[in-house]
Amino acid sequence: MTDPSERTTALRVAGADAAGLAASAERDGVPVVAVGSTGARALEPLVVATHEGTSAFVPNADADDVAAAVDALADGTLPDADARVDHDEVQASLPIPSIEGFAGERSVLARCGWTDPRDPDDYANAVGFSDADADAVLDAAEGLRGRGWGDWCADEPYADLWAGVRERDGPTSVVVNAHGNPGDALLLESDPFAVLDGASAAARAVDADYLYLYASEADEAALERARDAAAARDYGVPVEVVAGPDVYRAAEPTMAIEAIEGNHRLEARLRPPGPEVEGIYGNPTVVHTARTYAHLAGAIHGDAPETRVVSVTGDVADATTVELAESDTVASATAAAGVDDFTAACVGGKFGGITTDLDVGLAPEDLDEADLGTEGVVEVLGEDRCPVAFVGQRTNVASETNCGRCVPCREGTTQLTEKLRDVYDGTYDEGGMTELMGVMESTSICAFGRDVPRTVRTAMREFDDAFEAHADGDCPSGTCAVGGTQ
């Protein structure tokens, strides 16, 4: 590998198919690097040609574009591009172009699409692997909170829990849960060494004996990069990569543990006590998302801005992941993804809250106050979507894909789906649905059953008229067959 610090002229090809394109363009004198996704997947393969402190961006590149860009660099010039950004001669992070798909300054995503996710030296040069001892790690973790529903400490501080785990006997495990969330998968795919830097620091903090990287089998690039990165150097603790089934519930922390243990069927475990007492094989285990560890790595290196990794999915060309300040809004994320017209957004993951008002802050407190979720995923419902049909379908999916263990979730989602069907037959039982959802929230074993009601509740509030109209035999968006005509 070329010494990255000497890479003042280089061609980077970002995206899932980057390796093939990059290989086709090998040429003497011009380093061509297949980097991971930048998060702006709609633009990929994205060619970034860098020469003497300027980078040129060519989105949706084919082999001809790559060849032209290499030719230009070989001639000491830059290719025709959609955007150019001036930056330092020796640049450690992706310069952010003014193209739809990008937004804001990056911290934890800084190296996604810039450094070589296969080369630990690239991370070592750009940031450096931390050797902070347990106390220093716990100090850096002070005040940081877990991110996402796959994190056992979602929106909660975790430093005290770690200090407790450190004191507990038994072989201890650290789990990186990168299952399901596009931001977590992006980090593993494009900057796995940052995740491992944070996770191995966590392993020192809790005196762990094992470190597991866990991701969905559907995120093949993330798994491949994770396996390579795990083998690339010594992290002071054995690192194992585990693929979980491609189902939403597999990200729930205790189901992640079940998957890592190799159970062929996943269901939630009772709690308390939680994994910090009895986790993998009954031993103390900390479970956090890749985002949580990447933010920790930043904090250890003295870079801890209050930012959130947000992915925009749904009715968009392709999922877009950006990093925004917590003081920024959901609207900034959708704008970066090029969303103009929409019916609503489901904010906070699969069972997030439905809203038409995207002018809501990204801090967990702001999202919570608006009854939206903090998973870091904004699902856009396009112009022609019917919100009543959306929540019906989403609840139906919940009834078919829950783990099947507890009654309020297993039977509750089924009955909630029935009640949403009844709306189409003229009965809108608002009181009955509210009662049922209250019990699902207060008595389900895990976050799956506790979160499902949020989607329905917020939609009922935001689109009360549409629910009433459906019960009266009319779909305002004109997309549903109602009134017994189906």
């Binding site: 062929h264 475990r269 078919e400 829950n402 009654v407 297993r410 039977e411 209250g438 207060s442």
Partner: protein
């Protein structure tokens, strides 16, 4: 020599593993003796207790069905549950809010209320949710009068369950009448998992398992067979003794408690049943569990393919 072993091809290897399909729960019991307050009464419970032990020792203000909780005073019973699936044991605590009493450690100093309004509503709603998926044909059921769900519904004054009862003939699973010893009626199963634990954790037979997910969750067989006859069951009967409803009943008494109405019986209550093939005498005591674990990855419905709506 080899011909002598041919008829034992189904004999299980010694390394056969048990795969009940359920999660490995943490130990939810208390670490030391504790004094808790239940509806104003001080109750002392020994080490190894959950809140429900205190509730059972008290005169409670509210009715706590705790339907799926298996409460027998024997070392074997200790190996069954708490599954905490039915959530009809929810109570309010000052310290932790609403908790499931069957599976929450009895910590010293807890203040517990059984008649809290939200907890009472939660128990009522969850009991009705159990009934919503239960074929309530008590009059043709062999467990009529000795059914824990029936008792809970009566004690809880259930008149008309909010969500009705499981009454969709199209959706009924056939009766499994293929075994000479045990009849299975999954339409009455509440998925309490007691039978799976009795089979795997007490008898260590490894026959029954929890399988599927969501609305398709069911009790099945670890060898993947469709019928009891083709399973590796040794007919020990422990599953029947722990079943709270009419899902597992000894053959011969499946109609013992039915009300004698001409033409109506447990056997024809569903209208379809799986029968014994009578094809062979039982082979080796336990057959090989030959199937692969179910594929977790193929779930028919996803967001991209939400399936039929309406």
């Amino acid at each position: 020599m080899s011909s002598e072993h041919a008829d034992r091809a189904d004999a299980p290897p010694l390394t056969e593993t048990i795969a009940p399909g359920t999660a490995t729960d943490p130990d939810v019991k208390s670490a030391e003796e504790a004094t808790v307050t239940v509806d104003g009464q001080d109750i002392v419970v020994p080490e190894g207790s959950t809140i429900i032990e205190a509730i059972e020792a008290a005169e409670t203000a509210g009715e706590v069905p705790a339907l799926c909780y298996y409460d027998r005073d024997s070392p074997e019973a200790e190996k069954i549950g708490p599954r905490s699936e039915c959530r009809t044991c929810m109570v309010e605590t000052d310290e932790h809010g609403m908790v499931p009493s069957c599976s929450f450690p009895a910590e010293d100093g807890l203040t517990i209320s059984t008649d809290d309004e939200a907890a009472t509503e939660a128990r009522d709603v969850n009991l009705d949710l159990v009934l919503s998926d239960h074929n309530l044909r008590c009059t043709t059921c062999g467990k009529n009068g000795r059914c824990e769900l029936q008792d809970a519904a009566i004690d809880n004054d259930v008149e008309e369950p909010r969500y009705g009862v499981f009454d969709d003939r199209e959706a009924y699973e056939p009766l499994d009448d293929s075994s000479d010893f045990i009849q299975i009626d999954r339409n009455k199963c509440i998925l309490c998992n007691r039978c799976v634990e009795a089979c795997n954790d007490v008898q260590v037979e490894g026959v029954l398992r929890m399988e599927g997910h969501g609305a398709d969750t069911r009790i099945g067989f670890q060898n993947g067979s469709e019928t009891m006859e083709d399973s590796t069951c040794v007919s020990c009967g422990h599953c029947v003794t722990v079943c709270p409803t009419g899902s597992l009943v000894e053959q011969g008494i499946t109609d013992a408690a039915t009300i004698p109405l001409p033409g109506f019986s447990q056997k024809n209550s569903i209208g379809k049943s799986l029968e014994s093939t009578g094809k062979e005498k039982k082979g080796p005591m336990t057959r090989m569990k030959r199937d692969e674990p179910k594929d977790l990855t193929s779930e028919a419905r996803t967001d991209e393919n939400p399936g039929d709506w309406l």
